[in-house]
Every structure is written in structure tokens, then in C-alpha cells.
Point group: D3
Chain length 316, copies 6
């Protein structure tokens, strides 16, 4: 790929009941897909930049569902692997009460856990601007973890920037196992995204602004602490930065963090200054939470101006 | 339980797209449940006899879906276990082309595989007439297999008849692993149901009538070879028996074998002669295939006469 | 039944259009069930206590729908009667404008009106802790009214506590006919639930706290005045009590009163003090209004702590 | 009305589950309407002739559904009465097995039973060509029966032809009560439609051709015996007539008889000869059974030629 | 028509995705109809006054959908023309974000653009009280514009009041083309409805109250400036008038203006004073925005009092 | 593109009611896409060969729907143009009676008609194996026709084979206008697909086998006459060829011809002999008709063997 973002991880089929309430009373579930990394790739593609995603899916209809939908969004999936040994992973996202989302995963020993270093196609990475990773993939299995490490090494060799969203998932691995792995990754990445709780997991305390600076001390040149409805703060190129969240009503908060990352990285690849990166990131997050679906509401570039003209963006 | 049938195994949530075609083009899936053993229990309950089912489900909404629906049909599920370690197993049943069904399972290391001998509640079994087992459960895990063995032993001690439907599932275990286990079970059961291909798997060749007689030689007093649209033949109490299938159009063949077993066992528990057992079994199978769903079409007793009066039942 | 709650009345099929708006523009209606008494029984069962419901349904598919769904929730329906003379009663619940519910009933001369004293199965009542009644049943017909009276008498003989929710339905009988019947019932019950308007119908005026005390003067040891979003006040064992409602958004208020009653009675049966009874009652009401459906949102016991930890419960 | 057909009776809301199977397993039902008389009026209107229907509906949303849909089809409903005393009648049409329809009615003491002679608006009848009646209306109540009698008398006074479709409904009244009433009506009608079983109910035996001739002997100038898939035979203006049914696959047979009647009467009003009346009647019946719904498949005039050119019509 | 309102224009099929979000992610669209003029006619008919609508639709199923639904609401459509040259126009109404509606039209060179003066049936207009027009129709084509002009002339000849809702649609014609045409129409109408932005388009500046008076100076006896959630002001019979909007939550604002016009004109035809006209207009607007659909929420007369008793109406 | 097929034309949004019956009675329609050329491209991509499609869509959500779904299937759409002047074309596909499909188009002056020679991107065509065209595109407008001609010329210059499917659409242009244009195209193509009626339109009479030979005389090296359920015959490289259709039940025949063409061309590009081309073409056609949707049932390569092993393929 020439320019653009490369990412990999596990993307799953996503079943969602159509209304709020107990799943047991639902007659049907809607079929979608979702994965933190492919969400970011879709977000980047919608903003007009090249994006490629790879990973493993089962050699079955849910696997084709995953690939068809990601590819449909203009993301290159040619390096994805169909693994005929296991079925495609899936998740069920319920909303038992208004405002509460509960996700159940069927991914144990699934295709994502079978990722291996040889799945990383050097030809995909060569010429890319950014390799984006999340802290989910190393939690899936030893070989997936090894794949992440190998990809970082390859990226550095090829001169590709490394971006990491910490995305700590307690259900996949305990803190004591996650912390050393994630800290090691932080040390080798250029751009880092974390929540303030995740910063603490990485051993960094203090106000979010302080956390950002301290994390930058570990290695990354750009650190952004995502604070949800409270916006974001960061430490970028040796200076503090901050952005407010846009005041929208949150319909479905899942995926908002991925939209934020996509917005930031797309502007980074476009050579925009950090204020612009954060403004776009906040706008993307606002779009994402306003409609149902993990990524379906992510904005196209021409929609950004509409949104920000309605709301304004506050860069402090 | 006083009188009636006890059975156990794994019942799963069942997702089905509403129409024929590729799953990837489906916008939604319907939520149901299914499991060979609970299907039989529901069939028996609809025919008016006591039935109890137990097994493990996850401590989640899909688990409650399984329990709610089985219990709703009048089957006692009080001995079922909610296992908070793993999510409830599920399956996806597609019809990519008319007349073709393809099922994908998410049950690896699921609640069913965590069945253990201590899950068998002696108080449930005591006083029952029949313990019904399938060849699916021993394939799930060593401990599930051990549970089956322990239940057979307990049943024999308590004077409860043991019924076995071979139900060989090649996806769960290879023939070389299944055959010795299943042969051992056959030896200890009183009533045996098998397809002609399953009879071969058990090492018994020849025409179905011959297979039935030879299988009876291994131990069971009653052997019925289920032949689908060709009806069934058997060797019961030392004599050959046969029944034709009713001439109905098959809308959804999944579950027809379970309906057949339920019909047979319900009449056996009612003290009906073998001709009546087979007639009811055939009628139940015909009802089951006529409407969508694994068990939803199973008949109530008062519906049987309507059906057989329309079609007649041919006992040869 | 050993321990637990027994209740009876009429439960109906419930048709609801999927969205707000005129029914005439709806293309389809969802199929559910509902009835004040079975709602309470389901609420009690979800909180982990034994519950039994009986009543009459038609010998038809809607009748099976009613029985299947109640039984699916773990409520014993073995004493219910299938009446082949009349079809199962049904109701249509529209929401023509947001926040307005309009229910049309098809129950005139239906199975509920055909309840008769012989439908009360002494074996069900024997050993129960509570017989729960509503003021709906005596309004259905003379024989239904007689059935209520007979059941109260039997309960008292058997030493079973009698609980009554006034539930006055103006569409079923005029105040002049209802008041004497309901007052008579109040006199013979141990636990009484009423709205403040219903208390007035019973001839008791004043602030709700005063009404509670005055109603207790008529006989019941425990009186609770349900005040919806304003919480509840009562007079229990000779002392005033009160609880606030939890501050949740009401999506569907139908059934909230039944949830409240279920919560109160479940804790009463568990031997909890009145503050705990009211706290659980308020939590159950809050759960019920938060999701669509008359009873579908009622909580399981393990969900109560989640809710109250989020909201806190104010016992004054 | 100048020219055209006037009819009256009870039209009900119609709830239908979307697929074959037990109603209890349906999650939703579709909302439609149906009634033998309004079906005929719709059929006549679609063929381009004036048609008016009246009757009673409840003053509720289902009543508006009935009126909106009939009026939408171009049938004049201005003389219909909204009766605020009772809710609109409804029916549930299930297909528990392929090819089997089961209808449950909620019409006891409903608006239809409250029809009274004063509901017959002389201004609607004056100038009409045909008053069409069915044997359902007199079965609803004494006052409905009286209304039918009064309308016949008025029609004869005004010189309006009287058409009667026997439509015997055993669930509404027993043969011994129905026969004398229906025979009396037959005596006063000009055009009579009956099934061969209904002809027997009227006391007329023999082959259908013989029945037709014998019924004509009671009074009607035109008698048609509807034989479903076997076509129809009749005795019209003193001579035998017959038509074959068109060879179409029956998806939903309900309403086919009404379509047949509509086709026959529309051509009669247009002055077409009997062969044309029967050909159109048969074509209308064929259209009706080919799509789901009681009347939704009835043809417009320009669709008739398409159909008959595909199939041909055999007039013997 | 004797008394009542006559209107004409283009009514289209209306496709709407069931939820908020990008249309591309919708699996299905709901089928409805809509058109500013038929909306007004439906509103008038629901308030109990005679109403007729005509216009052109294609000779196809969408055309029948349009006619069936308008006629179903009790509006006379006998003068409508089925034009077999072009398909019925349609529109797609998306809600990409909560509170944002986006409509795409497929009406270029459609039936509406083919309206011609000869489509105006003098017999429909004769005896009517009001001819209602919108500024949409003259924008459709030269011949549609000519039809509007011809109808105004005919109305004045027949002594029928002319009502005009400016309804400027920028997508159909630019301001420089629209302004002279609309100003000319304003000069010949008796009752005028406009937004404040539309008043400016007509060349009239100032506060809305001033605009109303100035527009009245151009010819119309009654001028009402619709201000949405801010209510309306006007200049009627030489005096200022005003009404507040009712404080309801807007679910779907499309059609609210048409409901307002229908309410005003219905009361005008009933001879009600201007305060009553405005009160009903405001109540109709409030009903319209409270439920989904362009016209489905318009009130019947007996529903008005319910609404205003809940909210009160403020006539200043 | 290196190797593979390039095609262009107009692809539209496709609205389909979910069941058989009049569209006016449908509550909703499903959203899909379709176009003869993109159908072929999807078919080729599913068989594992590179495929690119281009054309014009509106700059709106239906346009994104078209692009997303084609791209999702692995077809390169990078050369497609978003035209902000007109909305994306759409079509409505009804099934008023079983086995009858009726399509209404909204494409007049749409994006397809605005195709122009400069839309043909030389870089896409360079290196391709086949340029596939249909007789639909030249019918859309003069500039679309000119685009087809220019593309043929460019293809011949670049040494790219030209394939043409006649696809005569009488609704778009009369025979007298179509025939000379299509005959001219036939002269310049290498591979020609036509129905026997289309061959007649091209002025070639006789049995299909004779027509094929005669059409080959006009220029194309390979001519295939598609005969639907009767299979196909052809004249390829100077010799007659034929294939039977596979005996499957046709659920939805639309798109079967495109599947056939895709199968033929995919094998041609793979260097397979003509018998193999025809066998795959027939298998693709059989898959296409077996499930609903214009292209959704097209086979992947690994599904072909399953199908042909079930049915066998008869090459005569």
C-alpha cells in the first residue's frame, strides 16, 4: 500500500436485538460486524485515506459477512486469511436497560487467537504511513501476541509509524498479565491512545494531563488520553493539548473511541497540525455515538464540516 | 419424578435467518433453541407424559432463553445447572439453497462439555420410567462422557429403562473414537434408535431389518432403525416390526428423528403395543417436518388423531 | 405447594403495535401475554420464591401461549383450566401518542368470567404462604366473584395469608357495584395494596398516610398505598412506613404496580422486615417501567443489587 | 347510489401470523381486515362498478382500520355506523400446518350482532342494481336477522335485485336454526350462490347440476353452485350452465368464493350474458387464491384479460 | 362537491427507513405516501369536513397506493388521473442523525409535471367552499403552473375562496423564477400561509407581525405567518392575531405545517372565528409532530379536545 | 488492472416487497442493488477472477449503497463517478402473482444516462482481458451510447477482448432504434451472448443453432444463444456447442442470464475449453435462480463442484 493505514486484529460477527430489553424476550437479532481495528480502518477510509485491514476469519458465511462489509467500506482486506479450522468469532450486544450495553463473546480459540507472525504480509506494510494496533490482539493468544510484536518490529524496520490504542479488556486477560505486555508495546509506539483508567493500568497516575506527559516519557511522541464525554487531553511533540467533546446525545457509545482514533490518525497522515487532529477526532466521536451501530455512524469527510458548523469545536 | 422420561444433554440457542439464501445477505436472524435431548423431552410432554431435562447453560440471557422455552413446554428443568464460567452454546442454522440446511456450532468447551457425573441428580431419576440418552453427549468431552456412563449405571440400579438414540455427529468426534464408546452404551441400553448408517458405524451390516436384529443381539430389547422418508423397521421383543412414513411435504427435516423417538417412548411409557408406538412415532415425525423449527411442530396428543385420520398410518 | 405464593385470575393474550402512532397505520402487532395476577406470580418467581397461578384459558393457541409463557417463567400452572367453550381473552395495547397507553379488551363472557369455586384446587393452596388476589377478578362475573370469596375462605381455613391489590377497573364495573364487594374483601385480607384514588373508592379519605392507617382499621395488618412516581406509604404492624420511587425514566408504566406487589410479597415470604420489603418493591417497580412490556422487565434477585447500587433506595 | 351493488354485514379486523406454524411460536401478527360482504363489494369496485358497504364497527382504532381499508378500495362506506358500546370484532387466522387454515372469532355480541333494521339507509339502496346478502348476517343475532329481512323487503319495494350467498357458518348457528331462515331468504332472492353442501343444508339433494335446478324451483332466477377447484355449475334463466376453475396453485383459499360472487355480479350489472358472468367469476376466484389475504388478490378489470389469456377459460 | 375543500397537486409514494442512521445500512424501507396538498385534504377530512384531492399518478401499483390511502382517509379522489406515460413519483425520507430529515425526490418529469389545465374538473370545484393551492405545484412544470393559474381563475368565477400555502421548495426552482410566480398567486388568493423566510422571498421584510400586514396589503384578506415551535402570527380581516405552539416533543416535524393549514381552513369553513381557527391549527400541528409520518398523526375532531385539555391553547 | 474483466453501465438501488402480492398492500420493501453489468462483475469475482465495474451513481446514500455492495463483493469500483447533479437511479421489483416479476424503473435522465466517453478510464482497461458490455447502456442516452462505442474502440486498441450481452430492453428504446446500434456493436465484439428473440431482433432467423452460426458470421468468434430453462447453444471457434440447463426449481429468475455470462467469461479468462465454459455458465445460472435476489445466489468457485456433483452437467 502506498500511504495510508494498516491495521490487524479480530473482527467478529455482531448480533444485536432490535430494542432495549431482555434478550430472552427478543424474537430476532440483527446481523452486523465489529472489531476495534477494522472500525478504525473504516473510519480512516471514510475520511478519504487508504486503509487496509487483515486478520483471520472462519471459512464460513459469517467470515464472508465480515470481509464483505469491511471491504464494502473501501478498506483493503486482501491480506485477510480464511481459516477453515474454526468458525468465525461472534459477539452478542444486548441493551437490557436503557443506556446499559452488555456484550457476550464467542471468540475463545477462534480465528483471532490463531493469528501468527507469518500472517503479517510485508508487502501490505511496505509504503504504509501508519501501523495501528490495539491492546486487544495480544490478549487473544500467545501467537497473536507474538504477531503484534513481530509487526511492530517490521514496521520500525520499514519506517512505518506505530500507533497503539491500549483498549484493555479485563475479560480477556488479568491486569498482571496485561500490564507488562502493554508497557512493552507503549515503549515501541509513536502514537498512543489510552483512557485515564488504562493509563493507571500502565502504572501512570495523576490527572489526565499529567498521565499524558508521563506516558510520553516512556517513548511515544504523541499521547492522547481519551475521556469520553469529557473530551480528551494529550502531550504531543512535547506540549500539552486538549479538546472538548461535542455536546451530542449518545445513542450508542460503543465504537466512539475507535472513531476518535480514526479521526486523529487520518489528519495525522494528511499532515494536519495537532489541533486539527483533535478537532476531527472529537467530531468523529460525536458522529459515532449519535446513531446505532459500532461504526455505521462514522463520518465521511464532507459530513465533518456540517457537524462542526452545527456544534463548533472547542480547542482549548 | 414419578413416572415419565428423564433426559440430559446440551441445549443451545439457535439462530436462523428468516429465508433461504446466503447468511451474509440476511439482515436478521430469529432466536430459538434446540437440542436433541430437550427436543425429545418436549415431544413427550406434548403427548401428555411427564418429562424432565437437565444440563448446563451459561449464567446469561441465552441460558435463560434455553431454560424458559423448555420449561414453557411443560418440561421440568429444575435440575439444570447455570454455569457462570462459560457462555451458553449456540448454533446457526442456514438454508443456503432450498432443501439444504447447514449448521455451525459454537459449543467447543461450552457448558455441555462441562457436564460432570455430579450433575446427575438421583432424586430426578428415582421413580422415572425411562432415561433417554443420545450419542451426542459423550462426544462433548471426557467428563460429559463419564456423566453418561454414570447415569446409565444409576438408572440400572434404580430400575429405570435406558433409551439411546445413536445420533452420531462426525463433526464432534471421529468414528474410531466414537464407535467403541457407542457400542459400549448400546450394550447397556434397553431401547435403541439408530439410522442405518449409524448401525454400520456400530459394526452391523446388512439390510435395515437385519441390522435391527443384529443390534438387538448386542443387548437392547427394542431396536428401531429410523429410515427418514422410508419409514422405520425394528426388532422388538424378538420379532420384526415396521412402519411407513406419512406422506407429507418436508419443510424442515431437522428434529424429525427426535419427534419419532418422543412418539415411540411416550407410547412405551403408556404401555401401548409396539404397533401403536411406531404409529405414533411416524405421526410425530410427520408433524415435525411440516413446519419450520426443530421442535415447534411436534404434536399434542389430540392433534395426532387429526393427522392420522387425514393420512392413515400403514403398519406392515 | 410448599411455601410460596398462589394467585389466580384472568391472563390474556396481549397485542401491541411496535411503535407509537395510530393502530390503523400499524402493519403488524407483537404477541405477548399479561394479567395482573400472573404478573405478580412471575415477579415472585424471578425473585426466587415458589409461585403458582391458575385460571381459565380457551382450548386454543392463544391459551397455550398464555400457559407456555407463564410456565416458562417458572410459575406452576398445573391447576389452570383449558375451557373449550370460549376463546382465550385478549387485549390490544396502543400508544397513540408518546406516553399515552390505551387498552381495548376482548374478555366479555371469556374464560375469566367462567371461573367458578370448584376451580380452586385445595391441594395447590395447602402449604402456600400467601394467596394473592386482585379486585379485577370479582368484576368479571358473579361466578368469578364467588370464586374469589371461596378462595379467601379456604385460605383462612388453611392458615394462608391473604393479599389483595384493589386494582379497580372502571370499565368492568361501576363504583357502586365495586365498592361493597371490595370493602368486604379488604376486611378479610392480611396485606392490602391500593392507590390513593382506590382508597377513596373504598370510602377512606385523607392524605395517603392517613388512608393507609384508616384502611388498616378495616382489618388488614399491612396496608401499602402505591403512589407511582411518588413512591409509596403504608401502615404496617401498627406503624407508618414509606419509600421513595427510584428515579428512572418510565418507558412503559403498565405492570409497575404488579412488580411492586411482587417485590413486597417476595420479601414478606422471605421474612424480611418491612423496610426491606418496600425497598425491593420500589426496585422492582423501577425495573418494570424501564423496558417495554407488562412484566418482561421484572428483575431477578441478582439484578436487584445492581439496580439499587446504581440508584440507592431511600427508606424514610 | 346510482347503479351498482349495495351490501352489508360484519367486517372484522384480521390478525394473521406471517408464516405457517403454531400461533404460540409467532412473535407478531399482521393486521388486515375481512368480511364476506365487504370482500364482495371490494371485488365489484375493482372491476369498475359502484359498490357500497355498510355495517357496524366499534368507535375505536380497529373500526377505523376496517372503514379506512374498505373505503380505500373505492367502496362507499358512508352509511356505516360507529357503535361506541362495543369494540370492533376481530378474527385470528392461523395456518398451523401447510394448507390448513383455522380462524378464531371475537365477535360474540359485537357490533355485527347489534345491526338493526334502522341501520338500513333507504337512500343508499334507492337506485342500486343489486342488494347482496350472505347467510352470515342473520346468524349474528335476532336483530341482525331482522335487518336482513327488512332489507330484502325494502329492496323488493325499490325494484333492487336481491343476491344471496348462503355462506353457512356452523360455528354461529346450528343447522336446525339456520335452515328455515336461509330457506326463507332463498325464496325471496333473485340470484343465489351456494356450495353443494349448503344446497343439501337447504334440503336439496342430488348432483350439483340437479341441486341448482331444484333451488331455482324455490324462487331464484339464477342459481350457481360453487364447487371450488372443480369450478361451478348453475341453473340460470331456466337453463343449465357450467364453468371450470382455472388451474392455479392455491396459496390462500379464503375469500375465493367472495371473489367468484363479485365477478359474477359485476358482469350481471354490466349486462353481460351468463357465460361471461361465469368466466369472470372463475377468473376472479383464481386471482384470489393465488396471493395471501382474503381479498387483496382480487383483480382489477384490466388484469382479467392477462389472466385468462394465460390460462384460458373453459365454458362448457 | 357541496361545501368543503378542493385541492390538487402531486402526491408521491414515500419510502422511510425504520430507524435513524445511514440509509445504506438499512435493510428495508417502509412504504407510505405524502404530498402537501393531500396532507391538507386528509387533515380537513379528519376534522369532519368534505375534502377532495386530485392530481396525476402513474398507472401502476405506487399510483394505486397513493389513491387507496388518500381515499381510505375519506378524501374524494374521483377526479384524479392515472397517467400511463410515466411512473408514480416517489420520495425517500432519511434520518441520518437524530432530528435531521433528508428527502430525495424522484419526480422529475413525473405525473405531477404533466398536470394540465384540462385536469381541473369544474364539477369538482363547483359548490366547494375553498380551493387550496401550494407553491409546490407551479414549480413542477410550465403546464402545472398553468393549471394552478387556470384553477384560480375558475375558482374566482365560481365564487370559491382561494387558499395558498407558499411552500417554497428551493430544489424545484430558484428564487428568481419562483418569486414573480408566487407573488402573482398571492395577489389572487383570499387566505395566505407563509413562513417568515417565505415572506421575505415574496419581498416582504420586518418582524413576522409586520410581514403579515404587508402581505395582506397585496390582496389576501387573511394572512398567517407560520413560525413552527414559536407558534404563528397573522393579519386577518384587518387586525393582528397570534397563537402559541403547544409544548409537545417533536418526533417528526414533516407535515406539521400542512396540519396547521388543515386546522385553520376546517374551522374557517365551519364559520368559526379566527381565534378558534388558530387554536385548532396549533392543536393540529402539535398532533402531527408527536407521531412518525407526514400526516398519520393528524387529529380527528373528537381528539382535539383531549389534546387542548391536556395542554391548553394560548391565544394572545 | 492486470488480467480480469472490466465492465460498466448503470447499477441501481433495488426495492423489493418481501412477499408475493400487490405492492400496495406491502408495508415495507427490502433494499438491494442490481445492474446487469455489475451482476456479471460480481459473478466473475466470486469465481476468483479480478473484476472492475464503473459507472455513475448519485452523490447520495443510494449511490453509496450501490458502491458499498459491489465493492463488498470484491469488485473494484475505484473508477466509478459520483454525480451530484441527479439522484441514484432505482427500480422496484414486484411479484404480483407467483412466478410473475414486474420491474418499474426510475432511471430517466439518471446518472447512467449521463455516462460520457471521458468516464472510461484507460488505466482501468489497460491490461484487462475482457471488456464486457450490454445492450442496455447504449439505450440510456446518446452520450451513454457514445461511451460504449468509445470503450470498444479503446479496448480493440489495447488488445482487450470485447464481450457483449445483447440484453434488449424494449422499454428503453424501440426496435427500430436499437437494431442498427446493436448490430454495429455485434460486428465489433469477440464474444456475443443473446436470447433467440434477441437474435431475431438482430435480423437473424432460424433455429437457435442456426442463429448462433449466422451471428458468428457478423464478426464474433464466440456466439452463445441463451435459452433459459432449455439451456444454451452456440457457435464457438467455428463449431457448434450446446449445454443443458441444470434441473433446479426457479425461485427468482432475474439475474440468471448475468450469472451464465459471468460463468462463461470467468472460464474463458482462465483458459478453459468451451465445454468447461458452458458447464460453469449453466451451473452459475442454476445457482442464481435457486435463491431470491438478482445476484445474491451467484456461486463461489468452491460451491460449483458441490452443485454439479448433485446434478451433473450435460454437455452435448
Amino acid at each position: 500500500m502506498t500511504g495510508g493505514l494498516v491495521t490487524f486484529g479480530e473482527t467478529m460477527a455482531l448480533f444485536t436485538p432490535p430494542t432495549v430489553g431482555r434478550l430472552r424476550h427478543a424474537g430476532s437479532l440483527m446481523l452486523g460486524i465489529g472489531g476495534a481495528e477494522s472500525n478504525v480502518a473504516i473510519g480512516v477510509a471514510r475520511l478519504g485515506l487508504p486503509a487496509a485491514w487483515f486478520g483471520r476469519v472462519g471459512a464460513d458465511e459469517l467470515g464472508e459477512t465480515v470481509l464483505t462489509r469491511i471491504r464494502g467500506e473501501g478498506v483493503d482486506v486482501d491480506a485477510a486469511v480464511r481459516d477453515s479450522e474454526v468458525p468465525t468469532s461472534l459477539m452478542i450486544k444486548e441493551r437490557p436497560q436503557p443506556g446499559i450495553a452488555r456484550v457476550t463473546y464467542y471468540r475463545q480459540d477462534g480465528p483471532g487467537a490463531r493469528l501468527r507472525p507469518s500472517d503479517v504480509d510485508e508487502s501490505v506494510l511496505r509504503g504504509a504511513q501508519i501501523l495501528h494496533l490495539t491492546g486487544i490482539t495480544p490478549a487473544l493468544s500467545d501467537s497473536a501476541c507474538e504477531t503484534v510484536r513481530a509487526s511492530v518490529e517490521l514496521a520500525r524496520t520499514l519506517g512505518v509509524l506505530v500507533s497503539l490504542d491500549v483498549n484493555y479488556r479485563a475479560a480477556l486477560w488479568p491486569a498482571e498479565r496485561a500490564t507488562p505486555v502493554l508497557r512493552e508495546l507503549v515503549r515501541h509506539c509513536d502514537v498512543l491512545f489510552a483512557g485515564d483508567d488504562e493509563a493507571e493500568l500502565l502504572g501512570v497516575t495523576g490527572a489526565p494531563e499529567v498521565q499524558a506527559r508521563r506516558l510520553a516519557g516512556l517513548g511515544p511522541r504523541e499521547v492522547v488520553i481519551k475521556l469520553g464525554a469529557r473530551g480528551a487531553v494529550g502531550w504531543v511533540d512535547g506540549a500539552p493539548v486538549a479538546v472538548d467533546a461535542l455536546p451530542v446525545e449518545a445513542i450508542d457509545a460503543v465504537g466512539a473511541g475507535d472513531a476518535f482514533v480514526a479521526g486523529y490518525l487520518a489528519e495525522l497522515m494528511s499532515g494536519e497540525p495537532v489541533t486539527e487532529r483533535l478537532a476531527t477526532a472529537a467530531a468523529c466521536g460525536a458522529c459515532a455515538v449519535s446513531v446505532p451501530g459500532d461504526w455505521e455512524g462514522f463520518p465521511h469527510r464532507d459530513e465533518l464540516s456540517l457537524l462542526t458548523s452545527r456544534h463548533g469545536t472547542v480547542i482549548r
